[in-house]
């Protein structure tokens, strides 16, 4: 009766459940789908924080390498190799984060930094939202790139850099990589927001999406970084834990604002009060865009009112926000755009197209939507994908985040 308790498999399972519920007799069960959406949300939180941490750590390493590049070239090679050992262990834990070695550090760097920036933005906004809901002053600092990267990454690195809830997973010792404070450095990185580190307050540190790893001594940030805060409460291993300030409305009251980042299209979509507007990332013109792996991407403009791509109908008489789901990512997606989340006052229909599921990831940030899609017109839909395939593709779109990095 074992099962993998990692975020990705949970997301996959949850999506499968939602998909199959649409074909079950008796119609969609609101209660069950609501509960599944909570699990999805929780898994997504963890996934986000893991990705962010990893990107951040890579950023760290690249900067290190940058500095090393001042030195005689043969050192560079050394450092690349030096960086590498830190990778595989975490790569293993990160699943699709297939960090191969190699690639030019410099070429990799701007893209990675860029990704990091976007992810950072996303996470910032997300945390701010939590803040807003739970009045926690501190977590903002968690997202701030103030402190050095956590330990060299043996095991699951599901920590936020600088977050005091950092604990080297399984108590593994540092890999010997010196920790450095992240330098604001090159442009796309935002200035560290209220530079306070993740705080001493365990509740706030809990808000920093603490890892699933069993507690261990928090790594010591290098000079310049504030000392870590009190460790997250002890937990039983194998449970994702501690990411929430009690009570557990974490991320649920997303009615104020939620942001979703699509790294493939480099579009940041913000949902506010149920209405979407697009904050198109300035990097839409970024040279990195072209190099991003065009995969089946997250549908970016979930419910965007503005037509992002031609050819999509928009429901004029929607009283709620849902326009069409966006956007084919630039590379062209296997999923046709589909209508989303127009909830009218009737029980949700069964069987909207399965490709809706791929959009669920982005939708879920904005609350309970996505489960109550109306049946789209059959004309605009491709043959529905079965749930399994769809979940994989949805997950693949999650993995697209890292694919972009790997490409460099």
């Amino acid at each position: 009766m074992e099962c993998a308790l990692d975020a990705q498999s949970l997301i996959s399972i949850s999506l499968r459940k939602i998909h199959s519920s649409r074909t079950q007799r008796g119609g969609i069960k609101l209660h069950k789908n609501l509960l599944v959406s909570y699990v999805l949300r929780n898994a997504r939180q963890l996934y986000l924080s893991e990705r962010y941490a990893e990107l951040y750590r890579r950023q760290q390493q690249q900067q290190q390498q940058q500095q090393q590049q001042q030195q005689p070239p043969h050192h560079q090679h050394q450092h690349l190799a030096y960086a590498a050992p830190g990778m595989p262990a975490s790569a293993a834990d990160f699943g699709p984060l297939q960090l191969g070695g190699g690639g030019d550090a410099e070429a990799r760097e701007p893209a990675a930094r860029h990704q990091l920036h976007q992810l950072h933005q996303l996470h910032q906004l997300h945390l701010q939202q939590q803040l807003h809901q739970h009045q926690h002053p501190a977590p903002r600092g968690c997202a701030a790139a103030a402190a050095g990267a956590p330990a060299g990454g043996a095991g699951a690195l599901s920590e936020l850099p600088g977050c005091a809830a950092l604990q080297p997973p399984h108590g593994a010792p540092h890999r010997g990589q010196p920790l450095e404070p992240l330098q604001p450095g090159p442009a796309p990185l935002p200035p560290p927001a209220p530079a306070a580190l993740c705080p001493r307050d365990p509740r706030a540190s809990a808000a920093c999406s603490a890892p699933s790893a069993p507690p261990a001594a928090a790594p010591q940030a290098a000079a310049g970084a504030s000392p870590p805060a009190s460790p997250a409460p002890a937990s039983s291993p194998g449970f994702y834990r501690g990411a929430y300030p009690a009570p557990s409305d974490f991320g649920v009251h997303c009615s104020s604002q939620t942001t979703v980042l699509d790294l493939d299209t480099h579009v940041v979509t913000t949902v506010e009060n149920g209405y979407l507007h697009q904050d198109c990332c300035a990097s839409a013109h970024c040279p990195c865009c072209g190099q991003g792996a065009p995969g089946p991407g997250l549908a970016s403009a979930a419910g965007c009112k503005r037509k992002y791509y031609p050819g999509q109908e928009e429901d004029e008489d929607d009283e709620e926000d849902a326009g069409d789901l966006g956007a084919e990512p630039p590379g062209g997606a296997p999923f046709a755009p589909c209508k989303r989340a127009r909830f009218e006052d009737f029980c949700p229909d069964s069987s909207p197209d399965a490709s809706n599921i791929s959009n669920l990831i982005s939708i879920f940030g904005s609350g309970f939507s996505g489960l109550v899609s109306r049946q789209p017109d059959s004309s605009e839909q491709p043959p529905p994908l079965n749930g399994q395939l769809c979940a994989k593709q949805a997950l693949a779109s999650l993995g697209a985040w890292t694919r972009a990095i790997v490409a460099f």
Binding site: G27, K29, A206, R241, F343, D345
Partner: protein, 427 residues
């Protein structure tokens, strides 16, 4: 303990009537089966109090909502009896969308001697009728017939999860995921909406109603539970729409138990007033809690039903067991509470002695007049003889529905498609 089993479709609800003379079950096929207790007879002491089938009828049929392209399941979600006021019995049965009031009555006489019809009911040729006679009632074999007296339809957009008869015996309520409606038994084309938690923007939905019940004595008071583990007590005298609760029962979450599935396991699956009306009992996935109506910030008692499942939540999520909705019941004196578990186990907790017992409802382990043996689940380490390890529990055998006789120690336990009735015979 005496045992009686009967096979049927998967049982979805079990309910004794107010005297305990009748026991109704509803199943997934939309059928209702009513058992009646044998009358005591002096010469057959052993057969005293056996339950036999009294009536069977099809309560609900599958429907299709063409407007919404939705199939409506015929599964009976709940049955509630009305108190008996004349020779007939009345019960409410509901599926996801429609509540029906059924009259169950006996017929032991039939009229004979019609003029215009013959004994088989065929019309007679008027030309052959030469005399007139007055029809008379003659005894016949007892026939129990069930007739639908009222159909309360089209009032629920979401799936009905509860019905509850008010102590005034004139009204009842029906609750779905987001709304609760108040009905008068006589009026089928109108109902009052008394609770509505549907948010203006469905994206903001965070909780649903999971169960609702009227207070046993105060006809203005009812409670409803939510998927967030909270209970609200409402007073209908306060306002027409009881969106604002009078009392709010919630226990703060234990942050050290936080997991991916915290929201799921805190969702309340059943809420029941005690017979006294002083307490409410709630069931969530792993525990049963007793609350005092006068204390809102935490329950007065918490009982672990199967805490060994806490480390298995991920697997239970995968196989959907984590969504199982267990019910809970009080005994007649409110001293013992009972609820079901997996592997056909059910648990009883004595509130006074704080002792609990795990019993199993299975054919192999139960013979008529055999004493039920307490069972034990072994959590870790060495497994003793007769213990069952957590990993060998059969999660397809779940006891979701149980009922307790209102005054005697007779319990009905529904194990998938089998109904077990256990009686505690003191003498």
């Amino acid at each position: 303990m005496e045992l009686k089993t009967t096979r049927a479709d998967i049982i979805s609800t079990v309910e004794f009537n107010h005297t305990g003379e009748l026991l109704a079950t509803g199943d997934k096929g939309g059928r209702v089966v009513i058992f009646q207790r044998e009358q005591e007879s002096k010469n057959q002491v052993h057969r005293r109090g056996e339950y036999n089938v009294y009536s069977t009828f099809q309560s609900h049929e599958p429907e299709f909502d063409y407007l919404k392209s939705l199939e409506i399941e015929e599964k009976i979600n709940k049955i509630r009896w009305l108190p008996q006021q004349n020779a007939a019995y009345f019960l409410l049965s509901t599926n996801d969308k429609t509540v029906k009031l059924w009259k169950v009555s006996e017929r032991d006489k039939r009229p004979e001697g019609y003029n215009l019809k013959d004994e088989e009911g065929r019309l007679r040729d008027p030309a052959t009728i030469t005399t007139l006679r007055v029809p008379v009632l003659r005894p016949m074999d007892l026939m129990v017939e069930a007739t639908p007296r009222r159909v309360f339809a089209n009032a629920h957009t979401y799936h009905i999860n509860s019905i509850s008869v008010n102590s005034d015996y004139e009204t009842y309520m029906s609750a779905d995921d987001l709304r609760i409606n108040l009905w008068n038994f006589e009026i089928t084309n109108q109902s009052f909406n008394i609770v509505d938690i549907k948010p203006a923007n469905m994206e903001e939905l965070t909780e649903v109603i999971t169960a609702a019940e009227f207070h046993p004595h105060h006809c203005n008071t009812f409670v409803y539970s939510s998927s967030k583990g909270t209970i609200r007590l409402c007073d209908m005298r306060a306002s027409a729409l009881c969106d604002r609760h009078t009392k709010f029962f919630e226990e703060p979450e234990d942050p050290s138990n936080r997991s991916f599935f915290s929201e799921i396991i805190s969702s309340i699956s059943d809420v029941k007033f005690s017979h006294s009306g002083r307490y409410i009992m709630t069931r969530d996935y792993l525990t049963v809690k007793v609350w005092d109506l006068n204390m809102e910030n935490r329950p007065i008692e918490t009982y672990q039903v199967h805490d060994y499942l806490r480390s298995k939540l991920c697997s239970l999520y995968e196989n959907d067991c984590i969504f199982d909705k267990f019910e809970c019941v009080w005994n007649g004196s409110d001293s013992v509470i009972m609820t079901g578990s997996y592997n056909n186990f059910f648990r009883m907790f004595d509130r006074n002695t704080k002792r609990d017992v795990t019993l199993e409802a299975s054919r192999e382990n139960s013979k008529p007049r055999a004493i039920l043996k307490p069972r034990k689940v072994c959590v870790g380490g060495k497994r003793r003889k007769d213990e069952i390890s957590v990993d060998s529990l059969d999660f397809s055998k779940k006891i979701l529905h149980t009922a307790w006789h209102p005054s005697e120690n007779i319990i009905a336990v529904a194990a998938t498609n089998n109904l077990y009735i256990f009686q505690d015979k003191v003498n």
